[in-house]
């Protein structure tokens, strides 16, 4: 019932916003995005969305439930192996079929579709401008298009189709500077639900498979400044949001992993000592929506990658200064 009341609140708020959208000020456009960020968490809905990245495309069934305090969601891959992602608040449990086993992975969740926008848009406002587009139909529903365009060439642009009644993001597409689609997620079917039970909030169990926890060692938060390196002049708009020590497959010692974000896009920086007898790696490439850059600073191997333009990963790699 609470979900339904919330839905009505959103419905009235969004429809009044969309009526005057042509004359809307920037503030009102940001308001629509702010409401979309909230609606993804505070509404109860179910549907199917299609996720497309590079050459691959997958359909996903989603059920999301908010009881006024807690959020539950179950995402089931409909194509290929039946991977399931169950989330409760920010905690994710992924049931990942691998060969004859089902590997259970635990993660902290963020920006899961349709909740791709951060609750706080302040960082996004600094690096992107907002512009409204046409009204289009997505998943049988009326949607207002909003463009988020980068103020520089250090990030990609985004286009969001926002349900004029529910306020939810129905479709999200990322474009590079040549206006080529980098990845896209779009509902093909969506309904609000008025459910109270949680019977559905469990994985479908395959009794023929073995369930095992992944043997990944969790990353440990690392807030100590290193005596061996420092960061100078990060690319505009990017902030350090996390730093940890983690095991990377094939590396004997933990690697420092620093995460940067401009509010929408994330970049990972890995720092490790150059291994004796192993040729340090230097190079760059772009595969699908991911840019990659590796270089050497003093005795340190630097590796940077993220869903951002190549200039950004290069700038972050070059911001690492080796301290003798």
């Amino acid at each position: 019932m609470k979900g339904f009341v919330l839905a009505c609140l959103f419905a009235s708020a969004i429809s009044s916003a969309s009526q005057s959208v042509l004359a809307a000020s920037d503030d009102e456009k940001w308001q629509i995005l702010q409401k979309a960020a909230l609606a993804a968490h505070a509404l109860s809905y179910q549907g199917i969305f299609v996720c497309q990245s590079g050459q691959q495309s997958k359909s996903v069934q989603i059920k999301h439930f908010f009881d006024g305090q807690n959020e539950f969601a179950r995402n089931v891959l409909l194509d290929g192996s039946p991977r399931e992602v169950l989330s409760q608040g920010g905690d994710l449990i992924i049931y990942n079929p691998k060969n004859e086993k089902i590997v259970i992975e635990k993660r902290r969740g963020q920006n899961m579709f349709p909740a791709v926008l951060p609750a706080n848009l302040a960082a996004v406002k600094q690096s992107y401008t907002v512009r409204t587009g046409d009204i289009e139909r997505v998943a049988g529903r009326e949607a207002q298009i909003l463009f988020l365009e980068p103020k520089d060439d250090l990030r990609y642009s985004y286009r969001f189709w926002i349900d004029t009644e529910y306020g939810l993001i129905l479709k999200s597409v990322m474009f590079n500077s040549r206006n080529e689609m980098m990845d896209s997620i779009s509902f093909t079917q969506l309904n609000l639900v008025n459910t109270v039970d949680l019977d559905w909030f469990k994985p479908k169990i395959d009794s023929k498979k073995n369930y095992v926890m992944e043997d990944e060692v969790p990353a440990q938060a690392d807030y100590n400044p290193s005596p061996h390196w420092m960061l100078k002049q990060l690319p505009a708009g990017y902030r350090k949001v996390d730093q940890m020590l983690r095991m990377v497959h094939g590396k004997p010692l933990p690697v420092t992993h620093v995460v940067f974000s401009d509010g929408l896009a994330s970049v990972s920086l890995f720092i490790e000592p150059v291994t004796n007898g192993v040729k340090p790696r230097a190079g760059h490439s772009v595969v699908g929506n991911t840019s990659f850059y590796s270089s050497v600073a003093g005795y340190l191997q630097i590796t940077v990658l993220g869903e951002v333009p190549e200039a950004t990963v290069a700038a972050i790699a070059n911001s690492v200064v080796f301290i003798k």
């Binding site: 996720c51 497309q52 990245s53 590079g54 495309s57 997958k58 996903v60 995402n75 192996s81 991977r83 992602v85 905690d91 449990i93 992924i94 691998k98 060969n99 259970i104 635990k106 993660r107 963020q110 920006n111 899961m112 579709f113 791709v116 999200s172 990845d183 997620i185 469990k202 169990i205 009794s207 369930y211 095992v212 926890m213 992944e214 043997d215 990944e216 996390d242 983690r246 095991m247 990377v248 497959h249 094939g250 590396k251 004997p252 995460v259 974000s261 896009a265 994330s266 990972s268 890995f270 190079g283 490439s285 595969v287 929506n289 991911t290 990659f292 590796t303 990658l305 993220g306 869903e307």
Partner: protein
């Protein structure tokens, strides 16, 4: 069988009616696996801290490696103080032995199932203590890490043929996932 195990877990079958299930899980390896997997799934859903993979096997192997200590005091004198873990393991193992002795003496008038359950409980005590020591012991996670690594190296190529090293891409997606990375992964990630 599987459905009955599930029912037993959900308290839909009374313990006293489950003797055949207990016996089945003892003798039938698959039924035993089903039992522990259902517990694992339940633990994860409830957010309980999960034990490491193959916890039971690793634990039993470690116990097998331990020399038989007849006097509890001998363990304290012979083992160096730094190996805190072994001390506790010994202590716990002695407790287990003591428990088993106890059960032997009373086994005459108790059904077999109960002695099985009791030694299972004793293993749980040992397990819990080992888990506690591992959490407190700095060296233990590193050992686990090494073991995990040596397994993974064989299955994962050092770099994907496309030019983005898969191991870094996996680490990036674990801590800074994009909305599509939950559903679409590089070929090397999904193996």
């Amino acid at each position: 069988m599987t459905e009955q195990i599930s029912a037993l877990l959900d308290d839909e079958i009374a313990l006293e009616d489950a003797e055949h299930l207990m016996a089945g899980m003892q003798t039938n390896g698959h039924a035993g696996d089903v039992w522990s997997q259902y517990h694992l799934i339940g633990d994860v859903m409830r957010g309980a801290s999960a034990l490491s993979p193959n916890f039971k096997q690793n634990l039993m192997a470690k116990i097998d490696l331990e020399p038989t200590v007849l006097s509890p005091n001998a363990a304290w004198i012979n083992e160096p103080k730094a190996f805190n873990e072994s001390d506790k393991l010994n202590e716990a193992r002695n407790k287990k032995q003591a428990l088993e002795e106890k059960h032997k003496s009373s086994a005459t008038h108790l059904p077999v199932v109960w002695s099985v359950a009791a030694s299972f409980a004793a293993v749980m005590v040992v397990g819990w203590m080992v888990l506690q020591t591992q959490v407190g012991n700095q060296a233990a996670p590193a050992m686990v890490a090494q073991a995990a690594l040596s397994q993974e190296v064989a299955t994962l190529p050092a770099t994907s043929e496309q030019g983005v090293p898969a191991e870094y891409l996996m680490a990036h997606q674990a801590s800074a996932p994009s909305a599509s990375s939950y559903y679409i992964q590089s070929a090397s990630y999904t193996e």
